[in-house]
Structure formats: C-alpha cells, structure tokens
Symmetry: C2
Subunit: 245 residues, 2 copies
DNA sequence: AAGTGGTCTAGACCACGCG
DNA sequence: GCGTGGTCTAGACCACTTC
C-alpha cells in the first residue's frame, strides 16, 4: 500500500512533532492522496520512516482518530475513513462555504451598553448579581445577506470593548487580541421561530425556523468570559460535528 | 489542597489503569468531593500516589481535560472547573439519553419496510444505488408526550430488524446486541418548522420549531450502518456539548 | 504463528508562569 | 530559580485478528 505522505519535520519548530505529522496526514487524506479505505502502515513502520519514537507516532495517529479521519483496530491496522458527505440540497453550511470562497462577513452593531448582571445572567456566567457587564447585540451578514443575530454579555473586568473595534473585528478575535485565553465552551443548540423583530433583521418571513445557540466560554482560569445567545437563519446555517467513540 | 481521591486500582482488570483513575476523579468532581477551583497535586505526585508511571497518570488527566472537567496550565497546575452538568460528546441515541435521565420512553412504529437505496440514500451511506435497505419511521414519546419523529435507513446486510424488537429496544441498542460495533458518527443539526403531518404526530401547532438532526453512523470497518433523519420538538430537546481548547 | 494496535514503564529535556 | 505541564525517547508485555 502506497502511503507516501511527505513531511518536512522541523525539530526546532515550536509546533510539536506529533502535530506536524498529524497535519501532514490530515492534508493527504483531505486532498485525496490517501483515499478512503487506504490502509496505513503499522505504527512502528511509520515511526521508523519519520524517525520518531512509537509513542510520538501514536500521538499523531490518535489525533487523526479524534478528528474522525481514520479508524484503528488491533490485529487489523489503521484505515482511512469515508469522509462525511455534504448534500447540496436542503440545509447546507453556506456560511463555511462562503468563507472558503473568500466572502467577507460584515457586522452591524445594534446595541452596545454597560449593564448590571441580572439573576439569569449572573447564574449563567457564574458571577455575582449586579456585576458590571457589557451587552452587545449584532447582526452578521455575508454578501449583504443577514445570517445571524448575535447577543453577547462580556464581564467588564475581562476586557473593555469599544464600538469602533467591534465594527472591524469579531468579538472573539478582539478578546484574544486583548489577552483573553479561551480554553473551553459549553454550548447548547436548539430551534425556534422568528418573531416580528427577528424576521425583519434577518430578512425572512415571520415564523421561519431559526437555529438557536447558547454558549458560555471560559478562559484558562475557568472564569466565564462570554455568554452568547445567537440566532441563525436555518436556511443558511447548520452545525456539523463528528462524534468518536 | 486536599485531593483525597480514593481509588481501588485493579491491575488484573481489562479496564485500563488510566481509565480507572480518570473515572475515580470524574466521580469525585461530579459528586462535589473536588469542588470547582480545587487545585490537584502535580502529575508526578499523583503518579507516585497511585503507583503509576507519569505517562499513565497523564493519560488519565488528559481524559479529564477532554471531558471538560479540569484545565491544565504549565507553570500553574491542574484545576477543577465549573460543575459539569453537561455530558461530553459521545455516540448515543435518544433512547440512551432518556434512559440515563431515568425516564421511560415508548416507541410507536409508523413504518417498517424493505426498500432499495435511491440516489440520495446511496450517496449518504456510501453504498450502491439499489442496495437493500430497511426503512423505519418511529415516534418516540416520553411519559405519553411525543418527543421525536425518527426516520432511519439501515442496510439489510448489517442487521435484520423485526418490528417486534423495535417496540422494546432502541435502534442502537438493538444493533449493538446484534454485533454492530459503532465507532463514529457524522451529524448535522439545524432547525425547521412542523408541517401538518409532523405537528399532528408530535402534538404541537403547525409551524412550531423543530430541531433537525441528520446522522450517519459507522462501524469499526468504516461501513455506514445507519442513516438517520430525526425531528425533535424544540421545547423538549436541545443538544449540549463541551468544546475544549 | 504472525502481525497489529493498546497499554505501561522509567527515564529525559524543554517551555512557561511565577516570585 | 523553581515548579509546573508539554513533549519525546526506547524499550516491554499484552489482547486481538487473521492465516
């Protein structure tokens, strides 16, 4: 089996070796060099080829498993999996597609104000009631078509935002640039229908389906740094994920 | 900081040591023995305490990170984060979810028939057009309240289902019992609104929001073993997940 | 019996955060 | 400077699948 993946390993790079290797394999799988069903060499052979130890090679392969790109079975080997099929009809990840095509999302800032945390917000973010928050409400559009209404609450002590900044950058980019180190997020996805105001903002009929996402993001201290409530047009957005056992 | 987690390690058990340790910590975190903010001992200390090597102890801690239970930072240490009401991403079915919550779901089998794969279905499952499939359509209720309309396509060569079995078990349980080894699933979530038939089945108003989930599950061979198209009442279902790093 | 991945060990050096 | 997690090595034994 030809598993001729080319890797230019840079041992002086800050990027871990296992990640360099995994990235190379991921690229080879995605561009078709390693078509679905391909059986990779065993990990000892691969480790030898890249002059790595077996544990390091394993760490790279584990990353591919986690990404849902290969399956591994003892006694059998490692095989490239069938990629998920994107159906052109119905719901599609138009947002991702447009981003890949080079379209630029634009953001309209509807509201930006300092507020005190009410009971719900305080509980959600794990902070004291009455704590100072920044509340923002935005509409994100792509090529002039509204895609989402995004409402966020950011604790004032995390970062001080300005309306000017928010017009030119995404919230998360902005927060990262200000030293916020996102580590994990809990999110919940559901569905709802557009009311009068929402339908006007998103340019859809009242009663149209919307994807609802609520998210709490935390930094490396475990401190909540953002609470988000987002509504997406269902005809322009769906959330794809790969679950690995 | 008192990190007095008790573990009865069984080295003769088929359960890996790192998993035994991780499970013990997970239990301690979930039951409050290790409240949020608790700082664990460093991994070398922990390894010594459980008589494990450092890599094995690390593997256990990595599992906790992956589950979104702790954060680790070099130079700082390992800290327990907010109480994990959320469950991690995992392969599951609605039936499994409900069982875990202690509820008693019931299933009504609307349709069960042998069909040949049409173009869409063949592409979705990665099989030949015209291949024999089992098509089923069910309504899942909980305590008498309809929760979901579930439509599935299962290749005939994967498992032979019977209507009788489907009334008493979840589809995934049934398939597992027949030797199907689920390994991964690709799924997509979106939103839609109930049409006349759907609203009648789910006992909601026409135009009510529904959570749409499409899923392709694969076994350890990478073969597609189920294609599902599920509609959930938005007022009774949402999907929670934890994203790490 | 041969080959595979899964687990485990006992070290080593490095990058980072802090005092 | 010190302690922390992050990375990497070079082995070992085992469980499982296939022939």
């Amino acid at each position: 089996m030809a598993t001729d993946v080319q890797v230019a390993l840079d041992r002086s790079s800050p990027v871990p070796l296992y990640h360099q290797v995994a990235t190379a394999f991921e690229a080879a799988i995605r561009d078709g060099s390693l078509p679905p069903g391909t059986r990779l060499d065993n990990e000892i052979e691969l480790a030898k080829r890249f002059s790595l130890s077996r544990p390091t090679m394993r760490q790279a392969l584990d990353q591919l498993v986690q990404a849902g790109l290969v399956v591994r079975r003892r006694g059998i080997g490692t095989q490239v999996i069938e990629p998920p099929v994107r159906r052109p009809l119905q719901l599609s990840s138009l947002y991702d597609d447009l981003i890949e095509q080079g379209s630029k999302p634009t953001t309209q800032l509807l509201e930006f104000e300092a507020v005190a945390a009410d009971t719900d917000r305080a509980e959600l973010l794990g902070i004291k009631e009455g704590s100072p928050l920044q509340h923002l409400r935005r509409v994100r559009s792509i090529d002039g078509t509204p895609l989402a209404i995004m409402e966020n609450w950011v604790p004032a002590d995390v970062v001080q935002l300005t309306p000017e900044q928010l017009k030119h950058s995404g919230l998360y980019d902005l927060m990262r640039a200000n030293g916020v180190d996102f580590r994990l997020a809990h999110q919940r996805m559901g569905a709802t229908v557009a009311d009068a105001e929402q339908s006007a903002l998103l340019e859809v009929d009242e009663g149209s389906p919307l994807v609802l996402m609520e998210r709490v993001a935390r930094d490396s201290n475990g401190q909540a740094v953002d609470g988000g409530h987002h509504l997406y047009r269902a005809d322009m957005y769906s959330f794809e994920m790969t679950l690995v056992k």
